[in-house]
C-alpha cells in the first residue's frame, strides 16, 4: 500500500491569496493512500524542503506530492529533496496550482480552491501508481557548435576554444564579424570595431581547436544534448559534424524603413544609421544632420524598443561634432535610452557639444520635406510645446534591429521557440537568459534581443560557460521517461517502429517470437509509439495508461461526484 504525503504550497500569497490552502490540505487527507498532508509558505525554500523531508521521515512516506508552481522550473529541486530523504526521485508528483490555477482565476477564489482540490486528487491518483526508476546516462561528444559568426558568436567560440573545447563556428557571410563590420566605431568608448573583431578572429584562427566555416549555413540538424548531428552546407558540399552542445548566435539586421517613411527612398539624403556609418567611415562628415529615433518601432505592430539606437545616434552625433565642431545636429526622440553609466555620460557630452535633443510624441511624428537641395524637418517639440522647423543636409532614421530573415527555418531545425517578432525565446527571461528549455542548446546576442556590443560579448561568454559544462562532465542524465513494450501483448505490427521519430524501436526475436524492443539510449520519451500501438503493448514510464486513467477517474470523482 503506497503511503503518500501531500504538501500544499502557499508560495507567499501567490497561491494563498486565491486558493484556500488549509481546505486543500484537509481535502488531501481524505484521498486514497494519503497518510499525511501539510502546507508550506515557500516549499522551495530551505525551510520548506526540510519540512518535506521531516514529513517523509516521520510518516514513513514512500511517495510525495507537492502542489505549488510549475514543474518546469522546480521539479528537479523537489526530486533531489525526496532522494535526500530516501524516497526514489521518481516517486514524486508535482501539481501545478499556481500558473494553472491561482494566477488565472484570481477573482474566483471558491472555484479556484475547488479546481486545486481536483488537481491534487489527480496528482495523488498518479502518484499511487508511480514506479521507482533509475536514471540512465548518455555520453557527450566533446565538440561545440556555434551558429553565427558575429560578435556574440565570436566571443562564444573563442571562450570555448580557449578552454580547450573543439568548436565549429558557422557563418553565412564570407567573413566573420556580422553586423559589427558595418559599424566602424563602437560607442561610448569610440573603439574601432575592426580591432575588436580581429582580436577575436585571430584567437580562433590561431587555435587548432577552432573550425571556421564561412559562407555556410546549417541545412540539417538532428539529435539531442550530447549527441547532435549538424549538416554544414556551403552551397557546394555538405559536411556532417557531431557535436555535444549548440550555441545560437545568428544576430539581427537593421530594419529598412518602409518606402516613403520620413522620405526614405523618395528624398535624397534620408538614410539609415548603417548608411551613416558608411559615410562617416569614408570621411564624409555632414555639416548638419537630424536624427529621427524610433522609426518603425515603439508603435502598434512593433511595440518593442530596440535598446541600442539612441546610443548609436548619440555616438555618431559626437563623432560628427568632434570632426566638425560647428556642425548643426538635432536628435528627435520619444525618450533617450542612455541607460547606465558611460552611455549617460555620452548623452551629456553630446548635449554639451551642442546636439539639440527634441522630444516628440507618437501621435505627432516629424515631417520631412525636400527644400531645394536640402531637407526640412518639421517637428512639434513637446517640451517647448512649439512647432519647430529644422533645415538640414541629412536625415538619419534610427530603425530597430529585427531578427534575420531565415530565423523561422533555423528555429524549426533546432525545435526552439521564437516570439512573435522572431526573437528566440529563452528558458526563463530572468534567471536563464542564455539557455533554451531544450537541453544542450543556448542563445546569445541580438538573435535573442537587440544588444550592445559589450552585452553581446557577455552573453556569448555566458552561453560558452553553459555549453562547456556538459562537455566537461562528459555525460548527461537520461530522464527515465522512456517507452517499453510488453511482449505478452505485442503483436509486432510495426506501427510503433513507424511512429518513432528517432528510429529507436526495432522488431527483434524474443523467445522465438517477433516483438518490438525500444532502444533506451535513442528513446527521447515522446510517447508517439504509445498512441500508435493498437494492442496497448507500448507504455511510457511516468506517463502510462494506468496512471493517466487514474487521473481521469480521480478528476471525475472529485469534480462530479461531489456535485451529484
Amino acid at each position: 500500500m503506497p503511503r503518500i504525503g501531500v504538501f500544499i504550497c502557499h508560495c507567499g500569497h501567490n497561491i494563498a491569496a486565491t486558493v484556500d490552502v488549509e481546505k486543500v490540505v484537509q481535502f488531501a487527507r481524505t484521498l486514497p493512500n494519503v497518510v499525511f498532508s501539510s502546507h508550506n509558505l515557500y516549499s522551495c525554500s530551505e525551510e520548506g524542503l526540510a519540512a518535506i523531508r521531516k514529513g517523509i521521515e516521520e510518516n514513513k512516506l514512500d511517495r510525495v506530492v507537492v502542489a505549488a508552481c510549475t514543474p518546469r522550473t522546480h521539479e528537479p529541486l523537489f526530486r533531489r529533496n525526496c532522494e535526500r530523504a530516501g524516497v526514489n526521485k521518481y516517486l514524486f508528483e508535482f501539481v501545478n496550482i499556481r500558473e494553472h490555477c491561482s494566477w488565472i482565476h484570481a477573482k474566483e477564489p471558491e472555484a479556484a480552491t475547488k479546481k486545486a482540490m481536483n488537481l491534487v486528487a489527480m496528482g495523488v491518483a498518479k502518484a499511487a501508481l508511480l514506479q521507482p526508476q533509475t536514471e540512465g546516462e548518455s555520453n557527450v561528444i566533446p565538440v561545440a557548435l556555434v551558429i553565427g559568426g558575429g560578435i556574440a558568436g565570436l566571443a562564444a567560440a573563442s571562450a570555448l576554444v580557449s578552454q580547450g573545447i573543439e568548436t565549429h563556428i558557422v557563418e553565412k557571410e564570407s567573413a566573420l564579424g556580422g553586423m559589427l563590420r558595418e559599424v566602424h566605431v563602437i560607442g561610448p568608448d569610440m573603439v574601432d570595431s575592426r580591432t575588436l573583431i580581429d582580436e577575436y578572429v585571430k584567437a580562433l584562427e590561431r587555435s587548432p581547436k577552432a573550425h571556421i566555416h564561412l559562407s555556410s549555413k546549417i541545412s540539417d540538424l538532428s539529435g539531442f544534448i550530447g549527441n547532435f548531428e549538424a549538416t554544414i552546407s556551403d552551397g557546394r558540399c555538405d559536411e556532417k559534424v557531431k557535436v555535444g552542445t549548440i550555441i545560437v548566435a545568428t544576430g539581427g539586421r537593421e530594419l529598412v524603413p518602409a518606402s516613403g517613411e520620413f522620405g526614405y527612398g523618395s528624398l535624397t539624403n534620408v538614410i539609415t544609421q548603417l548608411e551613416l556609418e558608411r559615410r562617416l567611415a569614408r570621411g564624409e562628415i555632414p555639416k548638419s544632420a537630424v536624427f529621427i529615433q524610433c522609426v518603425g518601432c515603439r508603435q502598434p505592430g512593433r511595440e518593442f524598443c530596440s535598446r541600442i539606437c539612441c546610443n548609436a545616434s548619440i555616438k555618431n552625433a559626437i563623432r560628427m561634432l568632434r570632426a566638425e565642431p560647428d556642425a548643426s545636429v538635432s536628435l528627435l526622440h520619444r525618450d533617450i535610452m542612455s541607460y547606465g553609466t558611460a552611455a549617460e555620460r555620452a548623452y551629456r557630452e553630446a548635449s554639451e557639444r551642442g546636439v539639440n535633443f527634441i522630444r516628440f510624441g507618437l501621435d505627432r511624428p516629424p515631417v520631412v520635406r525636400q527644400d531645394g537641395n536640402r531637407l526640412t524637418v518639421a517637428v512639434f517639440d513637446e517640451n517647448l510645446e512649439q512647432e519647430l522647423r529644422i533645415d538640414t543636409d541629412l536625415v538619419v532614421l534610427a530603425t530597430p534591429i529585427v531578427p534575420v530573415e531565415d530565423v523561422k527555418e533555423l528555429a524549426k531545425l533546432l525545435k526552439v521557440p521564437i516570439d512573435r517578432h522572431g526573437f528566440f525565446l529563452e528558458a526563463h527571461v530572468k534567471l536563464r537568459p542564455v539557455e533554451f528549455a531544450t537541453e544542450g542548446i543556448f542563445i546569445c546576442g541580438s538573435a535573442r534581443w537587440p544588444s550592445s556590443v559589450s552585452e553581446c560579448i557577455a552573453q556569448g561568454l555566458a552561453a560558452a560557460t553553459k555549453a562547456s559544462i556538459p562537455i566537461r562532465e562528459g555525460r548527461v542524465i537520461i530522464e527515465p521517461i522512456t517507452a517499453y513494450s510488453d511482449p505478452e501483448k505485442c503483436i509486432a505490427c510495426g506501427n510503433c517502429v513507424l511512429a518513432c521519430p528517432y528510429e529507436a524501436i526495432e522488431i527483434v526475436l524474443f523467445d522465438g517470437k517477433r516483438k518490438a524492443k525500444v532502444n533506451e539510449a535513442k528513446c527521447k520519451g515522446c510517447g508517439n509509439c504509445v498512441a500508435a500501438c493498437h494492442n496497448d503493448a507500448m507504455e511510457q514510464k511516468g506517463f502510462d495508461t494506468r496512471q493517466l486513467g487514474a487521473m481521469i477517474d480521480a478528476l471525475i470523482k472529485s469534480a462530479l461526484e461531489v456535485s451529484q
Partner: protein
Amino acid sequence: MGAKVVVLGGGIAGIQAALDLGDMGFEVHLVERTPSIGGHMAQLDKTFPTNDCSMCILSPKMIMCADHPNIILHTYSELERVEGEFPNFKVTIREKARYVDVSRCTGCGDCVAKCPVKVPSEFEEGLIERKAIYMPFPQSVPRKVTIDATKCRMITQKKCGVCKKVCKAGAIDYDQKDRLIVIDASAIVVSTGFAVMDVSVLPQFGYGICKDVVTSIQFERILCASGPTGGHLRRPSDGAEPKSLAFIQCVGSRDARTHAYCSSVCCMYATKESILAGEHCPGIKSTIFYMDMRAVGKGFQEFVQRAQRSYGVRYINSRPAKIQPGEDGKGALVSYERRGAGGEPVTEPFDMVVLCPALEPKSNAQLAVLLGIEMDADGFFRSPDPAHPADSTRKGIFACGFSNAPMDIPDTVAQASSAAARVAELIFGGGY
C-alpha cells in the same frame, strides 16, 4: 582541476558566478557580508516583466549554492586582505563571530522569540524590527541565527543570556571569536552589487520629513506577503490603504549634484510596483514621474503598456521639484511642471509617494583599495577594455553585475556567467 576561486558578494551575481564556477570544477569560496546569501533580489516581491515571485525563482539557486559539492559559503564574512598576483592570490577572509555554533544551530528560532532587544531590521528596510539575535529572512541560506554583537546585551554589558538558556541545541557561544581564513586563490570575482542611496540628503523629495514618502525598496517590502504588513498596501502615517500613489524616478540619479549615471532598473521596477499596487488595491490611481522611460529589454514596452491600459497608470514626463507633507501630516503634495499648464508648476496631493533612489556601488571604493583595481568615474568596476566587459584593471580579477555597471537581473546573470568563462579561459587556457 580544483583551482580555487573567491567570489566576493552573495547576491544573484555572486550566486550565478559561484554555480557556474562550481559546475566547471573549481573550488569556489563565496563570501557574503551579511548572514545570508540572496542580496537585494531576496527583498523584492516580484521581478519585472513577468512578475515572477522573486523569492520563488531565487530560493532554488540559493539552495543549490549551499548544496553544491564545490561551493563553500562564507557568510557574515568580509574580505580582509589580498596579496600576490595571478595565479597566486593570497586572499584573507574574516569570518565574523556569530556567537552561534553553526554546526549545532537548527534554525528553530526559539532564541529569537525570547531575545529582549529590538533593532530596526535591515532586510525590512527599517519598517519593522528584528532582534539582536536574528535570521535576516525566513528563507535565509544558511538557515542559522546570528548575534549582532553591537546590540547584544550579553556581549556589550555582560547581562541577559536568555538565548543561551532557551537554546535546546546548545548552540550559543558568547566567547566565539572572528576567524581569519587564508585562501590560495587563482582568481577573484567581484559581485558586490549595490546599496540604495540615502535620499534624506535630498530633502526636497521629502524623505524623512513626510511620513508617507517611502523608498522603492521599502515599498517592495510593504507589497511582499512575508513583509512587515503581510502584503497589505498601507501607508505609514495612519495605516490606511492609499487611493493614489506617486512614483518619483531618478532621485539622486542623473543628477550632477549626486550621481550623473542612470541606475537602469528603476523605470521598470516602478512600472512593476505600480502594477502590483493595482493588483493589491484595485482602482488605485498611480502616477509615475519620469525623465525618460527606459523600457529597453524584452517585454518591457509591453509591460509599460499593460500598466497604462490595464491599471490606468499615468506616466508624466516631469521631474518634481518639491514634495511636502500633506494635510495633517498624511500623504504628500508633489509639485511639478506640467505640460499644457503654460509652464506653471502644479501641486497635486497623493496618499503615498514612492521614491526611486540612485543605486550606489557602495562596496567598490573599499574593494578598489583592497584589490588594487580601478573604478570608473562613477565608482563602478566597468571594464576599460570593451572586448572583455567583465575584466577589471588587474589580471585574474573580474567584476560582474551591478558592481560593474547598473544592470537588471538577466544582464547580471549573463555577466556573472561570462566572468566564469573568463576565469576558465585564464586557468584552463593558460592565458588571456
